[in-house]
Amino acid sequence: MSADVIVRLAGIEAQNLIVLIDELVEVVDAEGADADPGVARLTPDAYPDDAQASAEFEQATRATLIDRRRADARIVRRTLEPIADLADAEDAPLREHRLTLDDEQTDAWMRTLAAMRLVVATRVGITDADEHDVDDPAFHVYDWLGYRLELLVRAADERDLSR
């Protein structure tokens, strides 16, 4: 019985995820990232009614949270690169590949997909789960990231049950 989580995805999905992961790292590393609403959503205010406690908490956690995004991005990227390269070499972007993720990789994948959705949501202006502009191409990226995350959570939950 395998303890790994299996992810199936097309070569082009791996390539698109790599592009989005690199964009996420660019966003958190950008000059002025402190003022970016997307980055703000990744480092929420733990004390909205207490400015001093809020600043102290941010001071204590912000760098660690941002470091985690970078570290997760590296882990996820490494799992995707062989598939993206193969899709290029074979010129078969739609061929489905099978990826096995260990615990650390699974968690990094989930956190990264969730973080990318949060940042894209601030860009698209998603303020209600049921309301969105379907003409905005970014919405479809957001939707697809949700689909990938839902599949991964399901696979990980099923794996846990079989342990």
């Binding site: 908490f57 985690r68 998603i126 995350l149 839902e150």
Partner: protein, 96 residues
Amino acid sequence: MSTPASSPVLDEQLTAAPMVPWQLVVWDDPVNLMSYVTRVFRTYFGFTEEHATRLMLAVHHDGHAVVASGPRETMEAHAHAMHDYGLWATVRKAGE
């Protein structure tokens, strides 16, 4: 199993100085998936699937839920962990 005789004075002190004065509150947001929030509650806090689901639904329907309570430092560590998963969590004094 024996039961020690309780001291009324001690009981009064416990009531006057509650041991659990801080709370971790998780807030609803339109982005995080219900399945993901449930999984975070289950795996991070070690809650059963049923309890994790109940809390997730409370967050979803009531806009927020108290997910843990205890010492301030512990609640801050939990809030940091929730933020690490992309959840929106705050810390507050119980009763506020």
